[in-house]
């Protein structure tokens, strides 16, 4: 239930502005891949091209291929809506739907894809998803309460539960802990470790310790200067990137000399 992603010669444009240039990367199934790099280097932009969420911004487009187990996401006739239902996403700030209860938040994606779900099936799915997100014990007595009443860390785990409820192939996380306190961050990191048994996880993070802690492989993105496109500098096993990188820029960044 998880697929690999292969990216070939991907360029990302915002209208005429080239934001990310020439990315080639192979992301293994059932692994955690971290994207690190300074602000504005295009790692979030690149992440959003993996489920075609960048298209939400008018004028955004890509050149190149993103293959999900060999199927090109940008092939002719591919519906971005279908792509997104297979590649889930967790955002920088927790964003449970404020008008829905905790239970309805978890079921939101499922109801889109399959409107006919019996109450019994729904109950099972809600419990399984919330347990998968390590949130069940905290919310099982208040499933009918609004999701916005939870703490930030709980909200983020609710968003993860919502994402895994539709059983996606891949889960993308765009700095999922940047708005959370250290304890909630730890909870999310533990969760990411469990998620990789079932899902392919790609995470963007500003926190290098976090990348070192959670990921199997790390990709370092950098930018030559303002107005220049972001590029993938180096991609490899996480221990190698942090202890023995090939590129000088990577070494400078991970050792804290710039960025």
């Amino acid at each position: 239930m998880s697929k690999r992603i292969d990216v070939k010669d991907l360029n990302v444009y915002y209208s005429k502005f080239l934001a990310v240039e020439g990315v080639n990367i192979n992301i293994d199934a059932k692994s955690v891949t971290a994207f690190i790099g300074p602000s504005g280097c295009g790692k979030s932009t690149f992440l959003r091209t993996l489920n075609r969420m960048h298209e939400v911004i008018p004028g955004a487009r890509v050149e190149g291929e993103v293959l999900l187990d060999g199927d090109n996401l940008y092939g002719p006739g591919v519906d971005p809506v279908t792509v997104r239902s297979q590649i889930g996403m967790v955002f920088q700030r927790p964003n449970p739907f404020p008008t829905m209860s905790i239970r309805d938040n978890v079921l939101a994606g499922v109801k889109l894809n399959n409107t006919k779900i019996s109450k019994g099936e729904a109950d099972v799915l809600v419990e399984r998803s919330l347990q998968g997100a390590n949130l069940w014990n905290e919310v099982k007595d208040r499933l009918a309460k609004p999701g916005s009443g939870l703490s930030g860390g709980q909200q983020q785990r609710l968003c993860i539960a919502r994402a895994i409820a539709v059983e996606p192939q891949v889960i993308l996380m765009d700095e999922p802990c940047s708005a959370l306190d250290p304890i909630s961050t730890l909870a999310i990191e533990d969760l990411i470790n469990e998620l990789k048994d079932q899902y392919t996880v790609v995470i963007v993070t500003h926190n290098m310790q976090q990348a070192a802690r959670v990921s199997d492989k790390t990709a370092f993105f950098n930018i030559a200067g303002t107005g220049k496109p972001g590029k993938l500098i180096e991609f490899g096993d996480t221990p190698t990137i942090f202890s023995n990188p090939t590129e000088k820029a990577t070494e400078d960044y991970v050792s804290g000399r710039f960025g």
Partner: protein, 310 residues
Amino acid sequence: MTTTSLTKSRGAGQSGDKVFSAATLAAGCLILVVLFGVALFLVIQALPALVAPGDKIQGGEGFFTYIWPLVIGTLIASVIALVIATPIAIGVALFISHFAPRKLASGLGYVIDLLAAIPSVVYGAWGVAFLAKEISPSYNWLAGNMGWLPIFQGPASATGKTILTAGIVLAVMVLPIITSLTREIFLQTPKLHEEAALALGATRWEMIRMTVLPFGRPGIISAVMLGLGRALGETMAVALVLSSGALTASLIQTGNQTIAAEIALNFPEASGLKVNTLIAAGLVLFVITLGVNMIARGIITRHKEFSGAN
């Protein structure tokens, strides 16, 4: 440095503060005074009509018998207006906020706002001189084909000056109010929530149903209530368009009357108890509007927990 430097304050800054807070307090009180004054005036002036013996009131059967057909007529006209205007307004607002290209959206928004600037007497004139004539053939059709429904019972009015025409004119008048308010609300939907829906694999319409509409719910209700307020109180357009008469169930025959139009048409020639009767009718309209607004508030607060404001 002694502690006195902390207790001393800048004279000018503080007096500005005092003036400002006094001014806002005065403005706040003024609203209450005006509202209370109007209510008091209405009650005092209406009292003679409310306590007068039945045969002195127009119609000869007391104030209640006089007023209730007008209340029903007012509600019918307003409900027709809202039933027509609300879906169109929400559709237009959604188109402007989420579907139209930016240039078209701002142009369209501007045109809608212009609709609100047209005086009601112009709407009335348009309604009676154009709409009523053009629409009367379709009333004949309704009477012929759907006449078994009491609301479309024939014979249809030949002039088209019916409560349904008045309702349609009112719908056009309240449309810009509802549209511009709901558009503003829809634009305020947090991007974060829209993206959350899209990332789950929602289509554009599903995204709107999951985030924009629930988020905008209290705003939609407020907008509709403001539209209802205008429809209930609209005088000139109804007075011109509607050929008034006794209360009838059929919307396509002449008949029915609204409170506001009744007051406007009769006030100039009224004297004595008749004036009190009309003011009492105004009091009833005031109470209806107040009631409608309180119900709307109630609906909004009941769902506060899920409103997205917390």
